[in-house]
Amino acid sequence: MASSDQAIARLLLKDEVERFLFAEAELLDDRQYEEWLALLDDDIRYWMPMRRNVKFGELEREFTREGQDINWFDEGKDTLMRR
């Protein structure tokens, strides 16, 4: 029984996450940016590294490093708000 309770809890959580993502997408589709921003934590990190083509065995070079290199994005809520 315990394991099926856990499985149900997982499914409910998954459902909750999905609903949140759908609601977020809807806000963005409707251009309700203020409402969307209100959903985000103040300490949100928004980071997208750049990818390099590197030799096998040098995978540590594959992505630019957060907090050190140039990245496509490396920002927080302040910049997201200005966008």
């Binding site: 390099r52 083509n53 590197v54 050190q68 496509w72 490396d74 910049t79 200005r82």
Partner: protein, 458 residues
Amino acid sequence: MVVTSRDEVTGKLVDVDHGLISREVFVSGDIYQQEQEQVFARAWLFIGHEAQIPKPGDYFVSSMGEESVILCRDRESEVHAFLNSCMHRGMKVCRYDEGNTPVFTCPYHGWSFATDGKLVGVPYFKDAYHQELDKSKWGLIEVPQMYNYKGGIWATWDKSAPPFLDYIGGFKLYLDLLMDSWDGSDSGTEVFGGVEKWLVPSNWKFPAENFIGDRYHNISHRSVDMVGIGPSGTGRRDTNERAGSRLLDVSFPERGHGTVMALRPGDAAIPNAYQDLPILAEYFRHCEEEKKRKDAQLWRLLGGPGTVFPNMSYLPRQPRSIAVWHPRGVNQTEVWRWFLVDTKAPQEVKDYLRHYYIRYSGPGGLTEQDDMENWNYAHSASRGVIARRYAYNYEMGLGYGTPNYENDGLKLPGLILDSTEAKAAEQNQRGFYRRWAEFMDAEDWGILANWRNGSGHE
């Protein structure tokens, strides 16, 4: 449109005396093919920064025009640039963006080349070649001229091209605003890890001319200027620094280079700038004081965007960076952007600037993304058979430049147009295309080095 003979470009497709430039210059496949030979195989091109290859064996794969080149440091710490194509069957001997290696081994048949370009390994050398292949003749093709200018590495495929410093000429004064340390001391810059690379669906000359001096497109950046993303707090990022300055458009039409900048009045005080963070404000104030102490006249120059002919553009202040507009077909440009910072800047300053560079630049940057839209749709709306019939207009400020500019005792090189009241001019763009046309028409560097016989006025 087919351009069959020389002297077809100057005066016809490029009529700078009347401020008219044919759209064929941007959209014709034949012209594009010709400029690979006439422009990119002969001009000095920026290929990378020495800070990218600090150790023996380090390499960075770059590009000169359409062609892939390997910038590397050999075992003796000598820097080289090689055509990235195997001498046996043409395969790229290096397919990676960067790394460290003792040899470049071609993935096709296994010929291997040392980091000084020498052919050192040939499979079946004994059995199939009977040891008769002269390996000393089959090393990688090396650029005939390369120059390390304050850390920036430049190269040309033309051995008859003038030396780099002659190619740059008096423009050096302005390029140094990018390459020297913020406090005015010689050199001293490094690049951050990560070169931004992205594709823009437009001809490479759109961005090159935009950076050479388009002050006219502030409408494009209105939203980001309103929001304010700069290091000085709110509004346009450098309003404080430019207070009371003259705006100068500087062109070297005999060489093709140009920049737009601000000139502070002779009695200017050091402004409050970079107010976002105390350590940042303090660093820049310290540097400004040092620079002013070293040369109070040169301190008055506030560098702005510029282009070194043909396809290297830069921003000497923030976001301090170098862009190269690689041609990738007549309708496409691959943009590469390197980001520079003073080596001796405190870590907090580097971190702050890095974040600023990122939020400003590249396809995800709040400012640069506006430019992509313009180049993209200007190009695509110029490709049609009807659109091609109509030349672009480059008349703004035609004939208003002066070759002997002086202000408060400071004489500046180049053809200078004071655009403070006018707010914008297209002198620099005309200088760029005048030079481009000369490259397209000229047989050789004997003709192209025209500054040696005093040419250079608009």
